[in-house]
Structure formats: C-alpha cells, structure tokens
C-alpha cells in the first residue's frame, strides 16, 4: 500500500505534532500486549517525573508480574522487588534516603494477594512513598489465573467455570480498605481507557508525587486496567468490558484526599 505509506509520511511533519514522547521513556519496544494499560501508565509516570524535574531524585520499585520489566522503559534508577514485597523495598529505600522520591508499581496479585501484609503496613506506617496499583482482575504474566480482584463469575485459567464465591471468596476491594488506614494521605482510583481518563490519571499521579514531597503520608493510586490477552477480548472490547463490569465493582474517584492522621487522635490519654 504505497499510497497509505505516503499519506502517513505526509502527516508526520513538525507542524502536525501534538504530542511528544517524554525523553524519560526509553526506545525499548515494550513487551506488553496490544490494548494493555501498563504502557500508558508507564508513560504518565515518566511524564510526571520529567515535568517535576526529579529524574535524578527518583527510585522506582518494580514488582513481579507483567510489570516486572518496568525498569526497562523509564530512564530512572530502579530496584526490582520480589513478588509482593515492593512496599517493603520502597520503605527501606525511603527510610535511608528520605530526601528522594520513591514509588512502587504493582499489579493486583502482587499488591493485594501475596503482598497484602507489606501493602497494609507500609500504608499504615504512613510511609512517604507513592504506590501505583494496576488492577486488571487477572494474573497476566503467568497466563491468566484468578487474581484477588477477579470478579464473581469471571473466567480465568484457574476459575474456568467463573469465580465462585463458595470456592474462591470475594473480589478484594483493597483500595477501600487502605483508605481507612490513618497513614494514608491520598487514595484514588482512576483508569486510562480514553483521553479524558488518561488526563485525570496523570493529574492523580502528579498529585501523589507532590504529596510525597510534602511528607503527608502514603499516596496510593489505583488504575483500573485492561488485560486483553487474559480476558481474551480485543482491546476495544476490553475497554467496554471494563466499563461495564469493573467500574461498578471498582468505582472511580478519590477515596481519601488529605493527610495522614493526627497522632493525638490515636494516643493514650494521661
């Protein structure tokens, strides 16, 4: 299709550029599947770090799961954690370098199953870190098994007849639980399925990093995400499925917006 190639070349001109890739995003080809939300969220983190001018002060903690290779794509220092341990690793980094920006990046299995204890206690201590939580209701990396956030009735490779409450329990709304913890400063749930949602998520990530600078407590950003491969849907149908099924269970918006609790409210009297 030489005509189409020519058409594209005609479009790629400096005057037509409306968006430029952040120089913090490396040129490596991402390993993510088409339609996956990870790449968009990576880009937003890269843009926020670039815009805040904190590349030389930021350490990212990557998880085990699909985002295990997150360290390949954003041009900052990284620390690759064991499965579920990212909040503990981030705690260690932040405690010895409190002047730096530290963020963890985890999926639902990592953050809400195997790493639940580390997640809860990092937030409960009010660690001055940013935690990014990608919730796509499935284990992507290992081939589509049930996650703690898998919806009731949702088919995965370990719930081939759909998630059954009697057998598998309920989808875990961990973000709602974390919002109750006194150490949390900012807890929000966002998504990236269209331009408006992407803009809102970017704002939330920016705010989370700013809260870290103010040492107000833990800033937690959940991004309700898609997994086309795991869900066995096209990228377009994945977005539709997410809006129809995920959003009612995981409603978008801020769950907490403030600062960690006043210690006096929790102190012994007299």
């Amino acid at each position: 299709m030489p005509e189409l190639a020519q058409k594209i070349r005609d479009i790629i001109k400096p005057e037509n550029i409306v968006y430029a890739k952040s120089p913090l995003m490396n040129d490596d080809v991402m390993h993510y599947c088409p339609g996956c939300s990870h790449g968009v969220v990576h880009r937003l983190i890269g843009e926020v770090i670039e815009e805040m001018g904190i590349q030389d002060q930021t350490i990212g903690v990557s998880p085990v799961g699909c985002a295990v290779f997150a360290y390949k794509y954003i041009d900052i220092d990284w620390h690759e954690a064991a499965h579920g341990r990212a909040p503990a690793v981030a705690t260690g980094i932040k405690r010895v370098m409190p002047e730096k920006y530290v963020f963890s990046y985890q999926g639902d299995g990592d953050l809400a199953a195997i790493g639940t204890a580390e997640t809860f206690h990092a937030v409960n201590r009010g660690e001055n870190i940013v935690m990014i939580f990608i919730n796509n209701a499935i284990y992507g990396m290992t081939g589509g098994q049930m996650a703690p956030t898998t919806l009731v009735g949702q088919v995965t490779s370990t719930t081939p007849y759909g998630r059954n409450v009697d057998l598998n329990g309920y989808p875990l709304r961990i973000t709602e639980l974390l919002a109750q913890l006194p150490g949390a400063a900012y807890v929000t749930r966002q998504s990236v399925q269209n331009a408006a949602a992407v803009r809102k998520t970017k704002k939330a990530i920016r705010k989370a990093f700013e809260i870290q600078a103010m040492k107000k407590g833990t800033a937690f950003v959940e991004v309700v995400s898609t997994c086309s491969s795991g869900w066995k849907l096209s990228p377009v149908d994945s977005n539709k499925w997410m809006e129809e099924n995920m959003f009612p269970q995981y409603p978008l918006g801020d769950l907490k917006d403030g600062t960690r609790a006043d210690a006096n409210d929790y102190s012994i009297k007299g």
């Binding site: 954690a81 010895v96 206690h121």
Partner: protein
Amino acid sequence: MGELRLMKGNEVIAEAAIRCGCDAYFGYPITPQSEVMETLMALRPWEGSGMVVLQAESEIASIHMVYGAAGSGKRVMTSSSSPGISLMAEGISYMAGAELPCVIVNVQRGGPGLGTIQPSQADYNQATKGGGHGDYSLLVLAPASVQEMHDFVVLGFELAFKYRNPVMILADGVVGQMMEKVELIDQRPRWTNEQIAEISGSWAATGKTANRKKHIITSLEMDSSIMEANNLRLQAKYAQMSKEDVRYETIECEDAEYIIVAFGSAARICQKTVQIARSKGVKVGLIRPITLLPFPEKIIAEYATKVKGFLCVEFNAGQMVNDIRLAVNGKTKVEYFGRMGGIVPNPNEVEAALEQKLIGG
C-alpha cells in the same frame, strides 16, 4: 584500648552496629534475640549517628526493607532467630542474586518448626548450604564470645562490601544471652554521601544523574547466556572468598593425636574438654572454624594426615561433620557428637564421647 563493658551478646550486636556507623536496622521481634532491637530502640541512634531503626511487620518485610535500603549503597543489617531466618530466605536469595551487601544475624534456637527457644546450632546447613533458592553462598561468621559478637558486626560489614554479598553472623542462644566483658570500638561516623558515591557509586540506585546510565538493582535476567555469566561471576566471587577470607582458630593442635572440631558456643565447651583430656594424658587439640562458609577445609585436610581421628561436636544432629568428612576425604576417622533440642552438652560429656567414639573405638 577501647571502652570496656560487661554486656549481653545480643546487646553488643546493637552497640557495635551503632558504633561502626551502620545506616539502618530493620527487624522483627523473636526470642532469643529480641534484645538486639530493644537495645537499638533504647539507644535512639537516629538522634546520634543518624542510624535508622525500624520494627517491621514480619521477617519477610524486614529483609526486603534491608534489600531496598542496601540498594542505596549504605550499610544495612537485620537480626532474627531460626524461624525468622526461614522467612527471610527469599530476600537473602534476592540480595545474593542482586549482589547487595548486608549483615544478617541469626541467634539460633532449636528446631525444626517452632522448636524451642533454647540454644542450638541446627541452622548450620541452612546458613552454609543455601536456605534460599538458587546457586548462591553467604559468608558465614560463627562467634564464640560476646567480644566476637561485637567484632563480627564490624568485620561483617567490611566483608559484605568487599564482596557485595550478604554476610551472616551465625550465633546461638548461648552467645546471644550470656554476659561477658567486651571491648567496644569508638564511635565511627556513618559514611557521607561522597564516601558512598566513591564506594558504591558504580551500582547503587540513588537517583539517575545526567552523567551516568540508570542503575537497576535486580537478580532477574531472561537471557540464559547472560544469566549463566552472572552465575559464573558469583561463583568466582565465592572462590575468592575461599582463597582470601577463611578464618579459624587452632588450640593445642601441634602435638595432638585427636582433634575436636567445633564452632561457636560448642567450641567454648570443647576448650574445657581439651584441658580435661590433656590432664588425663590424652593429646587432644581443637580446631574452631570461624568462617563456616568459606569452610576451613585446608587446615583440616592438613591435620587429617597427622592425627588418629576427628570428633565434630555441634548442637545439632551432625551437620558440619559432613564438611569435615569432605575435607578429610577418608584419610582418617571422623566421628560426631552432639545434643539437640536446646540441650547444651557439658565438657565431660564431650570427653566421654571422645573416649568412646575415637580413642576406644
């Protein structure tokens, strides 16, 4: 001479950590080593040297906090006891794989499982043969006195940074809980950022500056040829440890016909056994491995051609005895004597075992 004090083994771990300029301690309470964190919290080093002390929610979190903090190039440590060390196995393997320095203290108790809080040396194999997954080795130091609890914290950090590898101080409930005179080092400052940049600037994840590539702390590598090269690099490092950092003590071995091999508290008991045996006219010596890994195999191999036999004495079912047998390689008799479950044998018991298993046998 440094300051002299009468101190408990566990307390001196804390005191030595602060004084040698350690940057951070992360831990979780477990008997018989809880005094380590209690002492640190009471001394409030964050107001003095600036050392961070944090009680984590579990041993798993503790070791992963150590993993994170060690990635900054700072001097970081933790302490625990047997069941807690089992939980830390994951993080220790990751740290060895990512080549991060740290000091881990294991004040052993009896096992398996919840076992007992009484002294034991049953984690010898766990410490020296793995514990976590993968082809990695720690450098394992076995203190036999409160003074060595102190000295090995200082030495442990030196070795951890020499090799960029976790170092384990494999103590036991006896050296952790007993009080002895100890000479303390003077307070040393923590490393400055400039010193850290000089020592660890080529790898530490402290924030990517414009003049260098990003640093990634990881043990992950999907390309098998690179992963094999990574493994070979680790093995070369372990070989260097065996060449340069084997430590042991020999007591009255020169004319010995029989040699006892024992580490940690067991070696203290066996020192008395040597005296008892010699008072009866039996020429007995003692080899005390100080580094359990790298194991002092050469000195044992040397004596294997000179003595009538070795008796390995340990507070377990016979773990180090296998390393002695490998070193001796069939050249002479190797027997084992030990007690388990938190029972500490007395010197006469050991002497009786020596008579029965080696001299009479």
